[in-house]
C-alpha cells in the first residue's frame, strides 16, 4: 500500500503498578504485583473481592506513601475532575506522559493537523452511567448532570486529549472489548501508512472497577473467586489453579510516528510497528473459538504483513487472561503459528502482575513489548507454579528474563470473538 513505516516515539502509562512508564516497567521487571482487595467500594457481597487498582496519592488502591502513586491534580483541575469519567482521566494522563516522552508539542497549524488521536476503551464510562441511573431513578431528570453524556462517551477520551493538545488530525475511538488497545495501535499505524496523519496518539484506557462491572463480569463467570484472601496469587496465567481473570484499571498511550518524520526531528525511537492482523471468531459471545482459531489467524496475518521471518520474533506478550480455557488455546495457537520456532520463543502474560485492563490491555502490553526491545529483557509470568499443560515455549515463570529481543508480538482477544495481533521490531 505504501512504503511509509511507522515507529513508536513516545509511551505513557497509568497502571496498577504505578503512575508512569519507567516506574511501571521497573516494578514489572522486579516481579511486583499490583493486586489488592477492592477499596473503592465494599466488595463484601461480590464473589470476586479483589482487583488491580491504580494506586492514588489519596491512598486508594494502596497508594499511601508510594512516590509513584497517581495524582490527578497534575493533569486536570478540580472542576474538570468532577466532569470526566476516570477512563478519560487516565487517558489524559497517559497521553500527557507519551507526548512528553516523544517531545512532540507542535505549535504550527500544519503539524497539529497532521497529528491525530485514537484512544479507545472497552467499556467507557460505565460507572458514570450507573451513578446517573441511580440519580435519575431517585431524584428525577432535573438532577442529571449536563456533563453526564460527555463524561461517559468512549470517544471523549480522544476528544479531550485532542482539545488539550490541539491535535486536529483524525480523531477516532476503538471499541472492541479486550482487543481495543491493540486495534487502536494497529489502525492508527494504518492511518499513518495511508498518509492520513504523520503522528497518532494511540492506545486504550479503562476504569471500571466498581460495583456494576464487577457484578457483571462475575455473573458471566469470567472472574477469579478462589483467591480473595491472597489477591496477589489470583492472576496466574497457565497455572493449573487459575480460575478466571482479575480486573485492572489504567491506560497506555503510544505516540506513533512516520519513520522519516521521526528521523527528521531527531526523535528517540523505541521500535517499529511492523505487523498487524485482525480477525473474528464468528463463534461465541464470550468464549474463544476452539484452539483459539481466530487468534491463530490474527497472528499469521500479523506475521505475514510484518514482512519479517517469524524466527526473528523472540518474545510474545500473550493475551493470557488466567481463564481456564483461553490460556491453553492461545498457547496452542502460538505453537501452530510458529512451528519449529516455538521452542525458541519466550512468552509471558503480564496480566499476572497488572491484571486485565480490558480496553487498555493491548496498548499497555504493546508498550511492554517496546520496552522489552529497548532493554532486552522480558517480563515474567507471576504465580506460574504448575503449568496445566506442556509446551516447548518458555512461559517465563516468576522472574524476568534477560535475552535477545529482536521482534515481539502482542496478542489481544475480546468478547464477541474479536482478535488482534501486533508485531513490533527493532528499527533497522
Amino acid at each position: 500500500m505504501s512504503d511509509r513505516r511507522v515507529v513508536i516515539t513516545g509511551i505513557g502509562i497509568v497502571s496498577p503498578l504505578a503512575f508512569g512508564r519507567e516506574a511501571t516497567w521497573e516494578r514489572l521487571i522486579a516481579g511486583k504485583s499490583g493486586a489488592g482487595r477492592i477499596d473503592v467500594f465494599d466488595p463484601e457481597d461480590m464473589p470476586c473481592k479483589i482487583a488491580f487498582q491504580v494506586p492514588w496519592t489519596n491512598g486508594r488502591g494502596g497508594g499511601t506513601g508510594d512516590p509513584h502513586a497517581f495524582d490527578p491534580d497534575k493533569f486536570v483541575s478540580s472542576k474538570e475532575l468532577r466532569r470526566i469519567d476516570e477512563f478519560i482521566l487516565y487517558a489524559i494522563a497517559a497521553a500527557e506522559e507519551a507526548v512528553e516522552d516523544a517531545d512532540w508539542r507542535p505549535q504550527d497549524e500544519e503539524s497539529k493537523e497532521r497529528t491525530g488521536v485514537m484512544i479507545g476503551s472497552g467499556i467507557g464510562g460505565l460507572e458514570s452511567i450507573y451513578n446517573t441511573a441511580v440519580t435519575l431513578h431517585e431524584h428525577g431528570p432535573r438532577k442529571v448532570s449536563p456533563f453526564f453524556i460527555p463524561s461517559a462517551l468512549i470517544n471523549l477520551a480522544s476528544g479531550q486529549v485532542s482539545i488539550k493538545h490541539g491535535f486536529k488530525g483524525p480523531n477516532h475511538a476503538v471499541v472492541t472489548a479486550c482487543a481495543t488497545g491493540a486495534h487502536a495501535i494497529g489502525d492508527s499505524a494504518r492511518l499513518i501508512k495511508f498518509g492520513d496523519a504523520d503522528v497518532m496518539l494511540a492506545g486504550g484506557s479503562e476504569a471500571v472497577i466498581g460495583r456494576i462491572a464487577i457484578a457483571g463480569f462475575c455473573a458471566a463467570k469470567a472472574m477469579s473467586t478462589a483467591f480473595n484472601d491472597t489477591p496477589e496469587k489470583a492472576s496466574r496465567p497457565y497455572d493449573k489453579d487459575r480460575d478466571g481473570f482479575v480486573m485492572g484499571d489504567g491506560a497506555a498511550v503510544l505516540v506513533l510516528e512516520e519513520y522519516e518524520h521521526a528521523k527528521a526531528r531527531g526523535a528517540k525511537i523505541y521500535a517499529e510497528v511492523s505487523g498487524y492482523g485482525l480477525t473474528g471468531d464468528a463463534y461465541h459471545i464470550t468464549a474463544p473459538a476452539e484452539g483459539a482459531e481466530g487468534g491463530y489467524r490474527a497472528m499469521k496475518m500479523a506475521l505475514k504483513n510484518s514482512g519479517i521471518d517469524p524466527t526473528e520474533v523472540d518474545y510474545i506478550n500473550a493475551h493470557g487472561t488466567s481463564t481456564p480455557k483461553g490460556d491453553e488455546g492461545e498457547a496452542g495457537a502460538v505453537e501452530r503459528a510458529y512451528g519449529d520456532h516455538a521452542k525458541n520463543l519466550s512468552m509471558s502474560s503480564t496480566k499476572s502482575a497488572i491484571g486485565h485492563l480490558l480496553g487498555a490491555a493491548g496498548a499497555i502490553e504493546t508498550a511492554f513489548c517496546a520496552l522489552a526491545i529497548r532493554d532486552q529483557v522480558m517480563p515474567p509470568t507471576l504465580n506460574l507454579d504448575n503449568p496445566s499443560f506442556e509446551t516447548p515455549i518458555d512461559l517465563i515463570p516468576h522472574k524476568a528474563k534477560k535475552g535477545r529481543v529482536r521482534a515481539a508480538m502482542s496478542n489481544s482477544f475480546g468478547f464477541g470473538g474479536t482478535n488482534a495481533s501486533l508485531v513490533i521490531r527493532e528499527v533497522k
Binding site: 483541575s77 472542576k79 432535573r142 438532577k143 448532570s145 449536563p146 456533563f147
Partner: protein, 77 residues
C-alpha cells in the same frame, strides 16, 4: 437573606474553579468567569439544591451574571 450573595459566591467558586475575588455581582458567568453553556446548567442545578427552589428553564436563560442569580434567588426563597 443577606447571605444569599455569599452562598452564591461559594457555589460559583466551587463549580467554576475561579478566584473568589472575581465573583462580584456584575461578573458575567460566560464573559468574565469562563463558563460555557453546560457549566451554566450545572450552576443552576447547584443553586436549586442550595436554596431548595426550582428555577424554570425559561428563567435559566435570563440568569447571565452573579447579580442575576442573586436577584432571582432572593425573589423566590
Amino acid at each position: 437573606m443577606s447571605d444569599v450573595l455569599e452562598r452564591v459566591k461559594k457555589i460559583v467558586v466551587d463549580n467554576l474553579d475561579v478566584d473568589a475575588d472575581k465573583v462580584v455581582e456584575s461578573a458575567s458567568f460566560i464573559d468574565d468567569l469562563g463558563a460555557d453553556s453546560l457549566d451554566l446548567v450545572e450552576l443552576v442545578m447547584a443553586f436549586e439544591e442550595e436554596f431548595n427552589i426550582e428555577i424554570p428553564d425559561d428563567v435559566q436563560e435570563s440568569i447571565r451574571s452573579v447579580g442575576d442569580a442573586v436577584t432571582h434567588i432572593k425573589a423566590h426563597i
